[in-house]
């Protein structure tokens, strides 16, 4: 189900916790599975649960509770825009609207070519850099004015 590289990474996470607490690695393991496969299918969640020796439903609870897990396929790039108050005051909502217009899609939609999924995010803890957005849960983009957004879109191919 997962590559040996991913399994090796999961093993490294397991080693951080007491030997009888493998379940503690479930958040990291699900993140690693999602990184490899693009999203979390029920099969992937079940695989992770079995690998960690926990009930599949318990892993599913985790996958549905935390909002950075994607339980449906998303575009090659997932762009999450923070529109929370501090960002809003400095253009976060406008940045989201600008992206919607540029991409021709709304929040929680994917461009027809499957390239970009747009999400409205919650506070990313970077309010001083507003407007901020995160690409694929990993890359934080700061001070996203129209010019910066255009540059980012040109880069996401």
């Amino acid at each position: 189900m997962l590559t040996s590289e991913s399994l090796k990474r999961i093993d490294r996470e397991i080693a951080k916790y007491p030997a009888d607490q493998k379940q503690s690695a479930v958040m990291a393991a699900l993140a690693i599975a999602q990184e490899e496969q693009g999203w979390l299918s029920s099969e992937a969640i079940e695989f992770v649960a079995n690998y960690l020796g926990m009930a599949p439903i318990a892993a599913y609870e985790v996958a549905t509770f935390y909002n950075m897990y994607d339980l449906k396929p998303v575009g090659k790039y997932k762009v999450s825009v923070c529109t929370n108050l501090p960002c809003m005051l400095t253009g976060g909502v406008d940045a989201g609207e600008y992206l919607k217009k540029k991409l021709g899609i709304g929040y929680n939609e994917t461009t027809p070519d499957g390239l970009i999924t747009l999400k409205e995010g919650e506070c990313m803890g970077a309010c001083g850099d507003a407007p901020v957005m995160i690409v694929n849960n990993r890359r934080m983009c700061s001070w996203m004015n129209p010019e910066q957004i255009d540059k980012l879109l040109a880069e996401l191919k």
Binding site: K16, Y17, P18, Q21, Q23, S24, A25, V26, M27, A28, L30, A31, L52, M54, A58, E61, V62, F65, Y66, N67, M68, Y69, T83, N84, L85, P86, M88, L89, T90, G91, G92, V93, D94, A95, Y98, G121, E122, C123, M124, G125, A126, C127, G128, D129, A130, P131, I134, N137, R138, R139, M140, N145, P146
Partner: protein, 440 residues
């Protein structure tokens, strides 16, 4: 550097973008000296805790609980596993200081946690890092590797009999995990739903073992306190409000960012450090302690000093030190609607008053903002908040209610205008100009 208010060399160095986060740089500016002194001098655990008590360091995550007192609750002489946990799950809107501490001074957190572990007799620790700041998580892992290689973490630290290891755990998008017992559930690999207290974590924490959880900035302040002494640290702030604090200033200011100032510094000074109001516009209101803190109108705010007691007297709370500045282009109804959406989205769903109440708050505010407000909506909102507050396991319900109560209290006319005229007192194009997005 002075302009950024760097006072504590272990906390604020690098806030200007100086990328000196590595172990060698940290040691050069006095890093790991405090830990070395404690371990090599075999200073008794109780003395370390007393020094922290003397400093009157209060928890920097939001609650402001005295750190030394918290540490003294741990059954440090009992045998068995004990844990120290760092709460870096920084997701309170407006707060972004822990990200900078971990980005520029990860070793101050490692040193602070190691000293804490020594004082409380813990052999293992975790730092729970907000999932959205992935680069910070990766950097912290790198810093841990450096510390292990140099003998500051692991078995028999610096040849003493004390062993401690520390690991990073990342979140994946849940505000509630900033609540300490939800955070523990999350480390255990479960949904982050808060636990009933008591039992408190000091007796039943991670994996059911005694655990102390402190905020990133709290731990990062420890080495400096040990170095200069508890009393000197206290004197840097003001009575009952020891030391210096990082304030995250966001919103309508010219230079948003983190500023370290002594507690008790006038708000006006902090505002000036942040470059003053954007476009020279007038201050309308300020949320002085993160989104959960009650909003304070401009005139009152300008008279405040930045410390726990002064902000509390102004009817709000210092919280995490996140200062959200709003100028006259802000529509208070829209601002509150957005905050209410956040709490509705982030309620963990465990307690009915919060799960249902946050949804009502958002829906009613949404209809007011969209011209469908009803005459009795403000009373309805007030009644929903009183039915949430005090009836939930954790503080998220209160956190969702306090902004609603304070916004309506201080800006009632604006809400009434919205309901009556079905539009905003602040024209939409004025609001847009205020954000500066298209003119930046």
């Amino acid at each position: 550097m002075a302009i950024l208010g760097a006072i504590n060399p272990m906390l604020s160095v690098g806030l200007d973008g100086d990328n000196a986060w590595r172990l060698a740089d940290y040691v050069k500016r006095g890093g790991y000296r405090a830990l070395r002194r404690i371990l090599e001098g075999k200073i008794p655990q109780g003395d370390v805790i007393n020094e922290v008590k003397k400093s009157v360091l209060r928890g920097r995550g939001g609650a402001g609980f005295p750190t030394g007192l918290k540490w003294s609750f741990m059954p440090r002489s009992f045998p068995g596993d004990k844990y120290v946990v760092c709460n870096s799950d920084e997701g309170e809107p407006g707060t972004f200081k822990d990200r900078d501490i971990l980005r520029y001074n990860p070793h101050s957190v490692i040193e602070g946690m190691t000293i804490a572990a020594y004082a409380m007799g813990a052999a293992r620790g975790y730092n729970y890092i907000h999932g959205e700041v992935w680069e910070i998580y990766e950097r912290f892992e790198e810093a841990l590797d450096e510390a292990r290689a140099a003998g500051f973490l692991g078995a028999e630290l610096l040849g003493s009999g004390f062993s401690f290891d520390l690991f990073a755990h990342h979140g994946y998008g849940a505000y509630i995990c900033g609540e300490e017992t939800a955070l523990l559930e999350s480390i255990e690999g479960k949904k982050g739903q808060p636990r009933f207290k008591p039992p408190f974590p000091a007796s039943f924490g991670l994996y059911g073992k005694p655990t102390t959880i402190n905020n990133t900035e709290t731990f990062a302040s420890i080495p400096y306190i040990i170095n200069i002494g508890g009393e000197a640290y206290l004197e840097a702030g003001k009575p009952n409000n020891g030391g210096t604090k990082l304030f995250s200033v966001s919103g309508h200011v010219n230079r948003p960012g983190n500023y370290e100032v002594p507690l008790g510094t006038p708000f006006a000074t902090l505002l000036e450090m942040a470059g003053g109001m954007r476009g020279g516009r007038k201050l309308k209101g300020c949320i002085p302690g993160g989104s959960s803190a009650p909003v304070v109108p401009a005139a009152t705010m300008m008279d405040c000093t930045m410390d726990y007691d002064s902000i509390s007297k102004a009817g709000s709370m210092l919280g995490s030190g996140a200062v959200i500045v709003m100028d006259e282009t802000t529509c208070m109804v829209r601002a509150l609607e957005r905050l209410s959406y956040f709490y509705y989205e982030e309620s963990c769903g465990q307690c009915t008053p919060c799960r249902e109440g946050t949804s009502w708050l958002y829906k009613v505010l949404h209809r007011i903002e969209n011209g469908q407000g009803r005459a009795d909506d403000l009373d309805l909102l007030a009644s929903v908040t009183t039915n949430i507050m005090g009836r939930t396991i954790c503080a998220l319900g209160d956190a969702a209610s306090m902004p609603v109560q304070s916004f309506i209290k201080h800006f009632r006319d604006e809400f009434a205008y919205h309901i009556e005229h079905k539009k905003c007192l602040v024209p939409v194009d004025v609001q847009r100009a205020g954000s500066g997005f298209f003119t930046a």
